[in-house]
Symmetry: C2
Subunit: 325 residues, 2 copies
């Protein structure tokens, strides 16, 4: 068996662990990112955390094939750079070079949403398939595409920005500059906005009572009020799942994955979300008679997706003979 | 140099020719499809046309590596079938088997829009790139995606149906069953509809005069009236190019191709279409600073795209060691 280190770089925490060749996570360490530091300091700490993780798992550096890094933003895996990140102070950051000053292993870099998709494809909901798409419903809408067992992110490694495909032409302004992006209708943030708007229109709705329990407009309120029988909440969930399904069906028609993996905190709502999401999505795509249909599955890798996916991305680069030095 | 036969199966005509390994078309023959015949007769005629094309080009069967077929609908290239076509009477049609009853060569099958994309990638507007998307604006909106130099059509070979991704949620009813598909806003048919609607709203518009010259509502009328200075026509073209650009930007954000190829009869309108299409599309996608941008190019392969692309799809299958027998 061969072993890899996965590093999950986030705005708050840096996590790292050793992962075996089948995507099994052996251990996990975490430190604070302290994102207001100099870029060099953050990256050096990533290298040290990788070294610590190797030791903590009972291995030596020579037992490890490569380090894979999952980061927000757009990587350049050929030159070992993080070209751009909207969340971190990195501009053409020489990640490979700086990590290798700390630890002598090949280093590969990809986007965090792509790594999450790789984790699901190797060891999660899309295990055993060659073509899958993983959509994560969080603050935004993340998307990762696996084609022939490899991350597909376009010629510039900037894709897939499926969350920034327009679903409602001329609709809600998105932070990316476009109007009506899928993200503005399917993220947890979008559901919170829809809930707040419906509550304002319907002062009698239970939404306003449930809001007081939370103290903020979030993606859970509509589901709590729905369970209590609130009609306005049911309408909000119906509207949200309709937009969500329209966007998921778009992803199916664009990519025709064997499995469409859906994850993110919203999915914890269970059947009240999942049943209409599945039914509406599958009623929309464009399959001819006799043509195999995409299946929709829940993400399985949870918080470990970042580390496992980064490590398995690293493995795929080693397997493909990519230069990581 | 190795040689291939490409067959372009259409609802009206079947075309075939010999193509060299670099995508150069050496000759071209054509017969009527007569689509109301038995499926077996059509496919046998395709085999005979391939044999005739080989002879006509001065070759023998042994000089040819493979036959590639581009067909409307969803193929199963593993088993050599056409699973489904909305335009032709083919249901799980055993194309490989029937062609091979006529001519002893490996046979490969793919969708016609995918073959057009392959032609542009090998010998046309996207030559030299590994990642491209070709969008064809015709009666519908066709899409073909090239990933790592190969057609990408999903796990079921049914993709990419990018024309059937929703751009205007709840919008114009599409033949696929969804509402607001890109195809309903960017096809030549869509432009004709927008023109007709604007003319009815504005009886004073020149659109109504130009219509009389054509005798039907088509995609040219708005551009003819625009050149004569008609304000309503300018609004129609502005609306059409805005929707078109929104959908093209979606394709960029989804696939991040090095080149996005746009083709179809509408493109013959030249600058009045192309300038706003390019400007609006490039103002929309989501590239971070320093990230290489997709380029937009006009399709170059014209009517030969089907034959050349089918042949080059066949070549890629041979190169990948796929079984075509």
């Amino acid at each position: 068996m061969s072993y890899y280190v996965g590093i999950d770089l986030g705005g708050t925490n840096i996590k790292a662990g050793v992962v075996d060749g089948e995507g099994k996570l052996l251990n996990k360490l975490s430190i604070k990112t302290n994102a207001d530091r100099a870029m060099e300091d953050i990256i050096h700490d990533m290298g040290k955390l990788a070294a610590d993780a190797i030791k903590d798992a009972g291995f030596e550096v020579k037992d490890i094939e490569a380090i894979g890094i999952g980061s927000p933003g757009t990587p350049d895996n050929e030159d070992g750079l993080l070209v751009y990140s909207s969340n971190l102070p990195f501009n053409n950051a020489p990640m490979r070079k700086l990590i290798r000053e700390v630890i002598d292993l090949p280093v590969y870099i990809d986007n965090d949403a792509n790594c999450a998709a790789m984790a699901e494809a190797v060891a999660g909901a899309a295990k055993g398939t060659k073509e899958s798409v993983t959509i994560t419903l969080g603050t935004g809408v993340g998307a990762g595409v696996i084609v022939r067992g490899r991350i597909y992110s376009g010629f510039n490694q900037a894709g897939s920005e499926f969350g920034h495909t327009v679903l409602v032409s001329g609709g809600v302004q998105c932070g990316c500059g476009r109007k009506g992006c899928f993200e503005q209708y399917a993220s947890a943030t979008a559901l919170a906005r829809m809930t707040k708007e419906a509550a304002a229109e319907h002062p009698e709705s239970l939404l306003n009572e449930v809001y007081k329990e939370f103290g903020e407009w979030n993606a859970q309120i509509a589901f709590v009020a729905l369970k209590k029988g609130d009609k306005v909440a049911a309408d909000v969930v119906d509207m949200y799942t309709s937009y969500l399904a329209d966007g998921l069906a778009n992803a199916i028609n664009a990519f025709m994955p064997e499995i469409l993996v859906v994850g993110g905190g919203v999915c914890n709502e269970g059947d009240p979300l999942l049943i209409p999401m599945r039914e509406k999505t599958m009623s929309r795509p464009y399959f001819g008679p006799g043509v195999p249909k995409t299946r929709i599955e829940l993400a399985q890798m949870g918080n470990d997706a970042g580390i496992v996916g980064a490590a398995m991305m690293g493995k795929s680069c080693v397997d493909d003979g990519m230069n990581g030095i």
